[in-house]
């Protein structure tokens, strides 16, 4: 699991980046470079990126291989990143921006994308179960042919988003704004949509 130690900058409640005493935002330019270089090297060469903590980072044109576990990338920006075939477990991408990112064929479990914004991104053919997509803004993003069992999209704004041939059992779409969204060949009857519909666990 990523470190829960707080940034040493006065008044900052953000978690620090690994060995460095501050969070990414309050790190020196040199430290920022070291942190990013380490992550990019790990993402592209290691089997598993584990316990990494990078809040408010910016990552572009990278291809991840292997697995990402127990990490935190909240408030980061990912542009033209390729996560095809990766395994993402217990990892936090809350309030991130994903632009032209590709998660196709990946396995995502117990992870968090809540509050994120997806633009022209793709989750085709993913196993994306127990994943938190609450309050996302999704534009032209494709979740087709995916298993979205028990994933939560409540209070999201989904525009031009495709859910063709998906498993939506116990998926939660309560209080969503849906425009040009397709659920063709999926099982929306097993998901939760209506405001008043009792969602009991």
């Amino acid at each position: 699991m990523f470190s829960f130690e707080k940034c040493s900058h006065p008044g900052c409640n953000t978690f620090r980046c690994g060995e460095i005493s501050t969070c990414y935002h309050h790190s020196t330019a040199d430290d920022k470079k070291i942190i990013l270089d380490t992550l990019l090297k790990d993402l592209t060469t290691k089997d598993t990126v584990r316990n990494f903590n990078l809040i408010e980072g910016e990552i572009e044109n990278q291809k991840a291989t292997g697995a990402i576990k127990g990490s935190n990338f909240a408030f980061s920006t990912f542009r033209n990143c390729n996560f095809v075939g990766t395994k993402i477990i217990n990892t936090f991408f809350d309030f991130c921006l994903f632009e032209n990112c590709n998660f196709n064929d990946s396995i995502i479990r117990y992870s968090v994308f809540a509050g994120a914004r997806f633009i022209n991104s793709s989750f085709k053919n993913t196993t994306c179960i127990h994943t938190n997509f609450m309050g996302i803004d999704s534009y032209q993003t494709d979740f087709s042919h995916s298993d979205l069992y028990f994933s939560n999209f409540s209070m999201s704004k989904l525009l031009g988003t495709q859910f063709v041939d998906c498993n939506l059992k116990r998926a939660n779409f309560r209080a969503c704004i849906l425009k040009d969204v397709s659920f063709k060949y999926s099982n929306p009857e097993e998901a939760f949509f209506k405001e008043g519909e009792k969602f009991t666990i």
Binding site: N13, N51, A114, N132, N152, M155, I201
Partner: protein, 194 residues
């Protein structure tokens, strides 16, 4: 500290294995069931399972307790003195205790059940059936719902934004996310404004 989430298919419950520090000791939260995968997590990491935490005594969260006790000999911490016929170490609201080498705080959050506990370990909250991603736990009537919302607001939602939420069912979350998108909490705030 590492958290290994695991879905027990029979009751659709989340069980968590929390490993702590260098001692390779592990805590199991809510033994909803025992399957190959959960044993594999413990054995492949060479964990020594020394603690079980019970968030509440409902059968679907405790069904695997007897089975796990046939294999390991952990101490069991719960609100009640016995769970599934097994003796426990009772914990009260606001009690801080050390188990498996880590400090754990028990926070009683009644509403879903009177014995519901949230366990705080480091910056992670294991919320059982009190708080889930996007909603609160189920309640039998409106009075219990009000009690649960009140308990959550006064004991959990007042913590800092960066706490991680590991619920008994469904997706994981963070407290910041629940403040912004939890339908039931927002609904109760709106009712108060009315």
């Amino acid at each position: 500290m590492n958290v290994h989430p695991h879905l027990i298919a029979s009751g659709l419950c989340n069980t968590y294995i929390v490993s702590t520090g260098d001692r390779q000791e592990a805590i199991l939260i809510d033994p909803a069931g025992v399957d190959e995968e959960i044993i594999d997590v413990i054995e492949s990491h060479h964990f020594k399972l020394t603690t079980i935490l019970i968030t509440h005594r409902h059968e679907n969260h405790t069904a695997g307790l007897k089975k796990i006790l046939k294999i390991y000999s952990p101490s069991i911490y719960a609100f009640h003195s016995e769970i599934q016929g097994e003796k426990t170490i009772m914990v009260k609201d606001d009690e801080i205790f050390t188990a498996s080498g880590v400090e754990i705080k028990a926070i009683q959050v009644p509403g879903h059940s009177l014995d519901s506990l949230v366990f705080k370990i480091g910056n992670a909250l294991f919320t059982g059936d009190t708080l889930h991603a996007g909603c609160i736990g189920s309640t039998k009537n409106n009075m219990e719902k009000q009690l649960l919302v009140h308990s959550l607001k006064h004991k959990i939602m007042c913590l800092s934004d960066n706490y991680l939420i590991y619920p008994g069912h469904g997706a994981i979350s963070k407290l910041r996310i629940e403040r912004m998108f939890n339908h039931d909490i927002l609904e109760s705030d709106a009712t108060l404004l009315d």
